[in-house]
Subunit: 129 residues, 2 copies
């Protein structure tokens, strides 16, 4: 990769544990009608869930997609999992958009961040948990 | 996304909990000399760690990269974290390849998989934990 990002990428930071991650890996079908609209709607909807901390997403073109959702506690995740509009979107995903997917829900025990120092020699690190 | 994958993508499956995930999100620099060779070496090396279950990776071109490593238990993760060659690679990553990164280490409590049924109407689901 030799090109600069189009816009600054701001991944979710290392929060103080414990918190939860929902790791969602997807292989998509060729039939993606309506996907981006629904995805945008889900991103707006999850923002209203108390305890929602953020989301990271990466997509290899023609390959694997990984979405990681971050939540303060199990209650926040339950609220999101049982949201009626979210459940309808999941159902449509199984019918139309996903060849396969896997979900791993996990409690974070340790986290760590690194940001390159600007105009300095040494990098900076931070650890939590 | 309307193009087929070049090769079949086989993400890591939903194992029976508990197991561990190491979620590693990265923003790369423009200086990627040596990255792919080191990355290939690390993928070979981690395969020798007892309890290593697999790895998923997705990279948005010019954007976020997400790597998720899966391990049977905390001991497996510790062995990988403290591997001397891996530590040297991490150090080089901070000096050269990464603008920023975040690591979230978490214990999986629940997992779930879906694979589209071939030549059938209904999809198939499996749950663990």
């Amino acid at each position: 990769m030799t090109d600069h990002p189009q816009a600054p990428v701001t991944p979710v930071e290392a929060y103080e544990p414990p918190y939860y991650v929902a790791v969602f890996t997807t292989v998509r079908t060729v039939e993606q009608t309506g996907y981006s609209e629904t995805n945008a709607r889900m991103e707006a909807l999850v923002n209203d869930v108390p305890g929602y901390l953020g989301m990271d997403h990466a997509q290899t073109p023609g390959g694997l997609g990984i979405t990681v959702g971050y939540f303060r506690d199990a209650d926040a995740l339950t609220e999101w999992r049982t949201d009626a509009e979210h459940r309808a979107a999941q159902q449509r995903g199984r019918e139309q958009w996903y060849e396969s997917y896997t979900l791993h829900v996990a409690k974070v025990e340790r986290s760590h961040g690194f940001i390159r120092a600007r105009g300095q020699e040494g990098p900076q690190e931070s650890a939590a948990g």
